[in-house]
Symmetry: C2
Subunit: 150 residues, 2 copies
Amino acid sequence: MKIKKQEVELRMKHFETVCRNKGIKLTHQRMEIFSEIAQTGDHPDADQIFQRVRDRMPTISLDTVYRTLWLLNDLGLVVTLGTSREPTRFDANLNSHHHFVCGQCGFTRDFYSTELNNIRLPDSVDSLGEIDATHVEVRGVCRECLKKGG
Amino acid sequence: MKIKKQEVELRMKHFETVCRNKGIKLTHQRMEIFSEIAQTGDHPDADQIFQRVRDRMPTISLDTVYRTLWLLNDLGLVVTLGTSREPTRFDANLNSHHHFVCGQCGFTRDFYSTELNNIRLPDSVDSLGEIDATHVEVRGVCRECLKKGG
DNA sequence: TTTAATGCAAAAGATTTGCAACATG
DNA sequence: CATGTTGCAAATCTTTTGCATTAAA
């Protein structure tokens, strides 16, 4: 899942612009880490990123990777899959439903919609494997966090 | 977020049926743990479930909670939010896209659909907070795992 | 030169495992 | 009664933190 050179360059440019605008230093490590994520579509975890970057930069440490990852996340330059910074959560609701998730505090609320239950997926998805379930995930900021955060 | 008594009883019945059919013992601990998840819509994590169950059952241990949770998951009686059993994954793709996730190996592939990008959410969602992004998550079993697993 | 960022090592947090004691079917 | 399940304690894995050193602007 390599991303096209052109797209990667676009992402790098955007990364550099955002950092400069916010006065965040463009260190060698940050460039390598972001570049690694920007080049792949396979959604690596922190340790995989660490391993890959270390091939080119043997002195890098895992904690720098973590710090950089969350920085990139806070800057809106990368996004996490799953419940970020939170342990796994469990749900006994087996009826078809959808989720609103607060990116700040992890608050998650089910919501229902027969319309969304009947979404049609593009044919390309079928070729990826067997489909068990489809649901819509809405990310945002919950009312509690809006009050506090401003 | 309390679930209606009637629905909870339905869930408990289903839980007991599935366990009996598969020859899985209905221990006091399992009943309490499942009952705890079945009664709430707030998607607790393992430790929260542990704390709540312990109020009624002071001798229960955290590792039993974990073991039971994954058992329930394997039985299809509960579902996890987020990348279950996997560390957080990162994505530098900021274009609107959707995910196919393999529940067995964690394989995640982006897919695109302008139709899905323009999903209309029910009004009720607006009242939960500010919406940043909406995407569709498809869960299933990828081709690799289908080959291996059968 | 100033301040933020890194690397190291140690800590903290989440989850899993081995094993003897115990409860369910 | 036989086997699967539990609780405990220790191990493992993931992520975070304190602090002296180093590098970007």
